[in-house]
Symmetry: C2
Subunit: 556 residues, 2 copies
């Protein structure tokens, strides 16, 4: 694992990171139906493929390396931190591969999956239509059965990430559409595979399919990631193949979406880390002002109390969000691979509960860190050449795509908390309490000092959640009105819990005398910082959850 | 006053607002030392001048209309909301005029002020140098005395807003520089007037001075406002005139800076309002999704609980920040014009205490609102054509220029709170308590319900402030570490107080039966929203102020 991470680090810093600003400046251009990616993109993608990176977590049977998702996540975070726009390409392709694995028939899998997994072909997800943003029930794209068992797809899809490009020989579009006899609403949606180039039975590329990119969005950030408007069937209909059962399209998408949402949560952490590293370097280089206490002239701005506070805020929240995400992806692996069915189910429940928190909270953390990164740069942060502003622009999409923060919060509240009447919540609280007990038993005053604020935040979270379950029974609108404050509360408290786990690890290593003692002691101090500067927000959020909907809930 | 506001509204919506996006797209170009402003800018500025808008609050003796600053602020907010980049031009010119009024000799005033006041000439402020961002002690620009009593200025200044343009016949640069015998540090800084074109005794323009714009920054936002690098004295030295006494430059700047900081705080409110209005309109136009409770299809997104929450958050904070700013600018007028010296002094103290809060808090509110504005637009918010993203980009400078949020917080903490040992704070708390008592005496349960949360937030603020005064005596580094959380606490609580005042007004009008009863009732509900969603943060911030610096203050 260490070797893989080292190699990924090398590729991210040496190849992807230098292209990040080039991509921002050049962006993508649509020319005669082709999308030109920025200078260096083609070569970078070739090297990426040659290194076998696309295959890392894919199953062996389709040419993957079958690594745990935890490893894949750590690697993916590096692509994202070094070049968010580039990282979307493998993220989407992996998502498409997952969907095919879950739902496609064996012949489709055999024909398409190996080349998708190897990165020779790209993959996209086509959900959104102009009249239907987050509301998939309103989808209108249609699929007409053809005599040969395939379908003809008609309709327009928008916001399609890497919908068209020249990085791969072919692109496999996964498209949600309706069959002629399908029921209205979300129940009538089926999933189709629509390749850019048709694939002959021998695997060679055939004719160009009736799908094309008709425009590329002019966006605030991630300029190098082409966000396409895709037209299906402008001529005779795009040839598509049904994936799985008719009318089960949304179900397959939801399974895959869990992973995509996790991936976007990770993007929040990645951009937070990138912004932090850049701000940290700047704060140590930039000499300005006098020491507030000694009056000594010309100190690096990192010496100024408020700059130090901002750096610690970025660092402690980013690490909290990362620890949570990595813990969740570890549970993903448990849910897939544990030998004990009960453990698998328990892990599965925790993952389902925590995914909207990872997505919703980490992406807000990412935006906030990018904002602070600009702030630490002062006037230079507002100048584009510095690069701090790009992180802020790039980060802005993260709380929107793959379901807005509001949608994550509704998912957490209604599907994950109310629907199972708090049973997943109880699993999570049990994990938290167990770690709190371990912390309490450590014979170290500095560590014991973390227990009261951590416990307080946990109690705020628990009582807010229980009151939502109760109130949700009679006034759904009122509780939905405070869904986002509840999600932020959950994220804040999960972060405190994860800092508790970090301190347990640090204390173990300090006791053993292993590792870098200075690092471990710093971890304990960062945990204190988090409790005093971030976890303090739990009481305020709990109060908002308790009182914020009295008159303003939809049903009130 | 109503007529003035109506006219300003017309000019802002009909002339300035339509140019906002043009300005963003075209930006400014430096060509042969001249800066070309975007299409339509020249005409807009001509109309602006013809309407007499630059003169609104200037004194009669220099051709101004002598209006109260409260009126000028309301008018200025409209320029800022409709076109932030444009509004910087009059803001800077007004600042330069203030500086001359405060400090310049009568001959200089007579020669330059009338044309600056009328908007025939523009004005700039030249503080920052590459090696000295916020740290004015490190300034190196120098001024050499010439035989005729003028000076020759040498040096480079950066981040000079509207440093060069063709909107006016002449530009008056106010430049901080050092005389040859000046002491080091901030005490050796003098203020000079350096006109772009020298002015003959008869008022006609003479030779071009030795000052030029050598580059224009490529910025995240406010593209249409040229941010210039200015070179003084590349040839024989730029001819400058000493303003006021030698070595008192910083003092004059500070007086003027109070007003400039207020103006930037107002920009935060303006951009928050603009983002709110745009998001509100979009939320009512955009049909998507089903009603969460009734299941009814195709509702405007404003019907979704979380969209409604975001809109109310934007609205309630923006109004709170505006009420505070307008109250402060009203006290400005009292401090200038009240007949009673005690009242003038009291108002002056309140203004001084509150300016860093208006600047620091309102600009953070502005950024946060612009962020939420994008969020409400969903995917469309990330697409530049929508315009929501521009507000977010434009807003990002506001927490940085005229002193970062950290600098405002240090000013509030050290100069305004610690230095006078809490005496200004007590004035402010007395105002708050008086309004709280009035609220308490109103015989209306809905209104009485506001008293406990408002009082709680006030108590958090007071005790945090008193503890800072106490701890600041022995550990300045520790209290400076929590200066920004304290400033945010102060802003949050001032907002709650202002909502209390708004409710008092609404209750009076409801009692009288005057005005729009529905509006007044909505105000009371918005006040409740603010208490439950914003003022709740006071306890968390107070806790951070109390515990956030134990180990991490600079001196700890």
């Amino acid at each position: 694992m260490a070797a893989i991470l080292d190699e990924a680090d090398k590729f991210a810093s040496e190849v992807l990171a230098p292209l990040n600003r080039v991509g921002d400046i050049q962006g993508c251009r649509l020319e005669d139906g082709n999308v030109a990616t920025p200078a260096g993109w083609q070569e970078a993608y070739r090297t990426f493929r040659a290194g076998g990176w696309p295959t890392i977590a894919a199953p062996h049977e389709y040419g993957g390396q079958g690594m745990p998702k935890l490893v894949a996540a750590a690697v993916m975070e590096m692509w994202q931190a070094s070049n968010l726009a580039f990282s979307l390409m493998p993220l989407l392709s992996t998502g498409a591969a997952e969907a095919l694995q879950i739902a496609a028939s064996e012949p489709i899998k055999q024909k398409y999956l190996p080349k998708l997994v190897s990165g020779q072909w790209g993959g996209t997800m086509n959900l959104t239509e102009p009249q239907a943003g987050s509301d998939l029930a309103a989808l209108r794209a249609r699929a007409e059965p053809a005599a040969d068992g395939s379908y003809r797809i008609f309709g327009q899809k928008i916001f399609i990430t890497y919908g068209e490009h020249q990085l791969t020989d072919n692109i496999l579009h996964l498209v949600l559409a309706r069959l002629p006899d399908a029921p209205p609403g979300v129940k009538g949606i089926s999933l189709f595979l629509v390749p850019k180039y048709l694939v002959n039975d021998d695997g060679a590329l055939g004719d160009r399919n009736d799908v094309r990119c008709v425009s590329v969005e002019h966006k605030l950030g991630i300029h190098a990631s082409p966000t396409c408007v895709m037209a299906y069937g402008d001529n005779s209909g795009a040839i598509g193949y049904l994936v799985g059962e008719p009318s089960h399209g949304l179900e397959y998408m939801f399974v895959m979406m869990n992973e995509a949402r996790f991936g976007v949560g990770l993007q929040g952490i990645a951009i937070a880390e990138r912004a932090y590293q850049q701000a940290l370097a700047y704060a140590h280089e930039r000499i300005q002002g006098r020491d507030a206490l000694t009056g000594e002239g010309s100190v690096p701005i990192a010496a100024h109390p408020d700059v130090r506070r901002m750096l610690m805020l970025m660092q402690s929240r980013t690490q909290a969000a990362r620890m949570l995400a990595y813990w969740v992806v570890g549970q993903f692996d448990v849910a897939h691979a544990h030998t004990d069915a009960y453990e698998r189910e328990r892990a599965h429940q925790l993952v389902d509960f925590l995914i909207p928190i990872v997505k919703g909270w980490s992406t807000e953390v990412g935006n906030d860190s990018a904002y602070l990164g600009v702030q630490i740069h002062g006037g230079m942060g507002f100048v584009e050449e510095t690069g701090a502003a790009q992180h802020m622009r790039d980060a802005r999409i993260l709380t929107i795509y793959e379901g807005t923060t509001g949608i994550q919060a509704n998912d957490l509240l209604t599907r994950k908390l109310l629907r199972d009447n708090g049973s997943s919540l109880k699993q999570l609280l049990a994990c938290m309490r167990a770690d709190l007990d371990s912390l309490r038993s450590i014979d170290d005053q500095r560590i014991k000092g973390l227990v009261p604020p951590m416990e307080a935040s946990l109690v705020h979270f628990e009582s807010a959640a229980l009151s939502l379950i109760e109130r949700g029974k009679t006034n759904l609108g009122a509780v939905m009105f405070v869904a986002v404050p509840f999600l932020m509360l959950a994220g804040t408290v999960c972060g405190a819990w994860q800092w508790g786990k970090a301190v347990l690890a640090a204390s173990r290593r300090l006791g053993d005398g292993t590792g870098d003692a200075r690092f471990h002691r710093e971890q304990i101090e960062l945990a204190h910082f988090y409790m005093a500067h971030v976890a303090t927000g739990a009481s305020a959020l709990a109060e908002t959850v308790a009182h914020g909907a009295h008159e303003w809930g939809m049903g009130a």
